[in-house]
């Protein structure tokens, strides 16, 4: 593993677009706070995907035009949103019943670390993290039918974020099935990490070199 080699990596928007291309019409999808929220921008309006926000909104539409915000409509990241035709409003207990009851086809979340058995760490960096927020991360991690992670492949300090075993406190056990990074798309199967796709110009070895855990061929 060598984090020193500079790689041609995907932008956040390109990663978001890559995920969006894998979301079929009709899915019910929750997008986590931060980069995952960008995914919505890359789903064409003609492909009907029902976006869910934890605070009780189903059918989130595109971001409002400036000066045309409805102050009564926000998402879980407290950003102003719009509603599509077909939207509905529910309370928090019902909103998390949707999550916990397995009614989300997909949750796209950010990650600190993902382990080869699908464990996810994305809420706390450990004892030095004073009063970290957990929000809906544990509910989404445990509840959604599929959990896909959008994150950089390596941390700012150069460490692989795809690991044999998470070192940070866990969010959910064995729930991640796919990871989209700035250099690869990786499935998590019974064998562990399986490389689906490398970013243009990168080889299996390039990706393995930046991945702590063993990478498998499809």
């Amino acid at each position: 593993m060598s984090a020193a080699i500079p790689l041609k990596t995907l932008s956040r928007d390109a990663m978001a677009a890559r995920i969006a291309s894998d979301i079929p019409e009709g899915w019910v999808v929750n997008l986590g706070i931060g980069a995952p929220t960008l995914v919505a921008n890359h789903v064409p309006a003609t492909r009907e995907v029902i976006f869910h926000s934890e605070n009780g909104v189903l059918g989130v539409g595109p971001a409002p035009a400036p000066h045309h915000t409805n102050p009564w409509l926000i998402n879980a990241g407290k950003q102003h949103i719009t509603l599509r035709d077909g939207a509905s409003i529910i309370g928090h207990a019902d909103s998390f019943a949707i999550i916990r009851g397995g009614h989300l086809d997909l949750a796209v979340l950010g990650g600190y670390e993902v382990a080869q058995n699908g464990d996810l760490a994305n809420w706390s960096t450990g004892p030095d993290d004073i009063a970290p927020g957990v929000g809906g991360a544990m509910d989404l991690g445990a509840g959604a039918k599929r959990v896909w992670i959008l994150m950089d492949h390596v941390s700012k300090s150069g460490a692989s974020k795809l690991v044999e075993k998470c070192s940070y406190p866990l969010t959910a056990l064995g729930s991640v099935t796919r990871v989209y990074t700035n250099i690869a798309v990786i499935d998590i199967t019974a064998r562990g990490f399986v490389l689906c796709e490398a970013a243009p110009g990168l080889s299996f070895e390039d990706i393995q070199n930046h991945t702590e855990a063993k990478l498998h061929l499809p």
Binding site: E25, V28, E48, I50, G101, H103
Partner: protein, 226 residues
């Protein structure tokens, strides 16, 4: 484009198999998906488990399904009506099974299935015949019994209005078990009195979000019979 409407009852019920667990909404004659129940009869199924509050009522399609031998077991709070019922005759002859559940526990077990709560404690029924041999625990000074979530393969629901995403409203007492059952089944099938355009239902007034619904068939039958 998401469009959950199907052209007819046969298309709505397609794929329901022998030995399925089927939830049926309605309370008394109100909010009961009668056309879907009648449609089940056409399928000549065997071994069904029916979860429906008034499963033993003498009216509607369920007695016909029982007589046809399609139903192996009934899960309900009220197995018989005032009149003589097919259910009681079959039950006395050992030809149908009964799981009797307090009405609120029934509703909550169904909700639990949809809400991802595999089990919960409740004081209802604790210390009675209906919870014999079940796990109990004293919590906050009260005897409680552990109840598990009640799942279904299919739920049959009657709505007042539906749009093509499957968003639903109900009419007055027609709401009853319908919304909670819509969440607890692998396949939720709706018959609706009114079909409305997407966007016509106010987001604040939708009772069952379309994400719980798989198929909708338009059956404008009018008022409940009784």
């Amino acid at each position: 484009m998401i469009d959950k409407f199907v052209p007819d009852i046969a298309a709505a019920l397609k794929g329901i198999a022998d030995d399925s667990v089927i939830m049926i909404g309605g309370f008394g004659a109100v909010g009961s998906p009668n056309a879907l129940i009648d449609g089940l009869l056409e399928l000549n199924l065997k071994g069904l488990t029916i979860v429906a509050n008034n499963a033993g009522a003498a009216f509607g399609g369920l007695p016909k399904l029982m007589q046809a031998g399609s139903i192996r077991k009934v899960v309900c709070s009220y197995p018989k009506g005032v009149e003589k019922s097919v259910f009681v005759e079959l039950y006395r002859d050992g030809k149908i099974e009964l799981e009797l559940v307090p009405q609120g526990t029934l509703a909550e077990r169904i909700r639990a299935a949809g809400a991802g709560i595999p089990a919960f404690f409740t004081p209802t029924g604790a210390g009675t015949l209906l919870t014999e041999n079940r796990e109990t625990r004293v919590i906050n000074g009260r005897l409680c019994v552990l109840e598990d979530a009640l799942f279904a393969d299919a739920a049959l629901v009657e709505a007042w209005q539906a749009d093509r995403w499957g968003n639903l409203t109900y009419r007055l007492a027609g709401r009853n078990f319908n919304p909670v059952m819509a969440g607890a089944a692998k396949l939720t099938i709706v018959q609706t009195q009114h079909r409305v355009a997407l966007g016509e239902l106010a987001p604040d007034h939708v009772i069952t979000p379309g994400i719980y619904v798989d198929r909708v068939v338009h059956v404008p039958y009018g008022d409940p019979e009784i």
